[in-house]
Symmetry: none
Subunit: 277 residues, 2 copies
């Protein structure tokens, strides 16, 4: 057998190494491409060969030659690596972050305990949920929500079951700020009665996640009928509460073993409260 074939670089980092290695021996155009792809990894991941070629100022065929000079069959293979990088870098799989934690864990506990794995996973999930939060919350909505709450006569906070802790936090925070607020806690099964206190100068902050409790949904409907302003925190644009709400925030509820991450929701809750103060 003539020669053992070089295994292609599979990850972004390997690709980087390969490039530093061969850069000097590449032709002018291929150097140009190298520089571009390293400086514009996102474009490289998402655009078509024709597009990229134009942007770089080379022919599409040069992109293929570039890939082949790096031992790939075609440019698509290179692009796949950039795509992978794009999602890996995203919250949740952020190489720095996860790797850092995992490395740390390994070194400090050789025993690899189950409970620690869960802790790590949770930290990871919560962190990525937080990162998403920053990106997905619309600045305008946040401002608007704060204005509405400030203008309200009273603020009612609704969160049943898993959403109750977040609701309880908001209630605590607002009380500290001497905002006239009420926690709808269903004590004594009096949810409907509690909701009926709401008037048209009041704001209802409703926190709901799947599976949306029928109690919460009907409470929101009642509040709406009574003319209250409704600010919701829920999981997605297709949650049943969205259409009933004046403003809606979506928080990422990544799940692990059927349980949901709460950090993003809590963080948003805190942000709202603090901006009132």
């Amino acid at each position: 057998m003539a020669k053992k074939k070089n295994l292609k670089a599979q990850t972004y980092n390997e690709l980087c190494d390969l490039l530093s290695d061969r850069f000097d021996r590449l032709s002018n155009q291929l150097k140009k491409i190298s520089q571009f792809v390293l400086e514009n990894p996102n474009d490289t991941a998402l655009k078509t060969t024709a597009n990229l070629a134009q942007q770089i100022g080379v022919q599409p065929s040069s992109l293929i030659r570039f890939a082949q000079a790096l031992d790939y069959d075609g440019f698509s293979e290179v692009q796949a690596i950039f795509k992978e990088r794009l999602v890996k870098q995203l919250p949740g799989a952020s190489e720095n972050y996860s790797e850092r934690i995992q490395g740390l864990r390994k070194e400090q506990s050789g025993e690899n305990k189950q409970s620690l794995n869960f802790l790590d996973k949770f930290i990871d999930i919560n962190c990525s949920a937080l990162e998403h939060l920053g990106k997905d919350i619309s600045p305008n909505d946040l401002e608007k929500a704060i204005e509405l709450i400030k203008a309200a006569e009273s603020v009612y906070i609704l969160g049943q079951r898993r959403s109750f802790p977040a609701a309880a936090y908001m209630y605590y925070g607002m009380s500290q700020l001497s905002i006239r607020s009420y926690l709808i806690d269903s004590v004594g099964g009096l949810l409907k009665e509690q909701i009926s206190q709401l008037g048209k100068n009041d704001v209802l902050i409703a926190i709901t996640f799947p599976k949306y409790s029928e109690n919460s949904l009907s409470a929101i409907r009642i509040a709406r009928e009574r003319g209250a302003t409704i600010i919701s925190i829920t999981d997605s644009p297709i949650s049943p509460v969205v259409l009933e709400s004046d403003i809606c925030f979506y928080t990422d509820v990544a799940t692990i073993s059927g349980f949901r991450s709460f950090s993003a929701t809590m963080c948003l809750a805190q942000t709202l409260v603090i901006n009132l103060g």
Copy 2:
């Protein structure tokens, strides 16, 4: 002119709004697709129609129908929006997450709104609190706590004031797991009476932060006198509860404007609960 043409949703947020609006009127398959794309925006951005269709469990043509139901000409237009979202999230080569977040924020809101700064700061604080958590929690303590809880006849959970949300979460989680658990909520001012239920085969999980409420402290003392096992979550080794506790976890409660980050505490709470399941 026959009819004013609807302008297509151009951004991810607009697309979300559109989906909330029309979701109810979509057919089953189209609903399925809606859910998927909202839950898997990255896949939606990067994969081919055939791929996605298979993953969702529909025909490729349904994806096009989905796009058309949202006034687009084809699925490619939808995908373009998801692609845009994907890169908007990532300002260039990412350093660590806080820098990333800060960079992002600056660029997308020239107006530099106060509320956003708070959101960013919070995200940042919560993320580092989580990171610390991973480093600070002792594997042995975690294991031991889990064993103790598993062995307990009943679990009582105490958290007053700011600690109440975390306590409420643990109560919720344990109830889901059919663990015999009680939330000491002081309803009706009956804290002492609630605590007096504790016996020597029970575990008290006490969550306390400065300034440690006198109620909580005396509750812990009573529980101890009655021979219960005490697992605490508190802020530091010099917290007054440490000496009363069998196991003690410290969570980082970074503060901003006098308010405290809760993520680490919540995360630890979740980890404990899940390891019981």
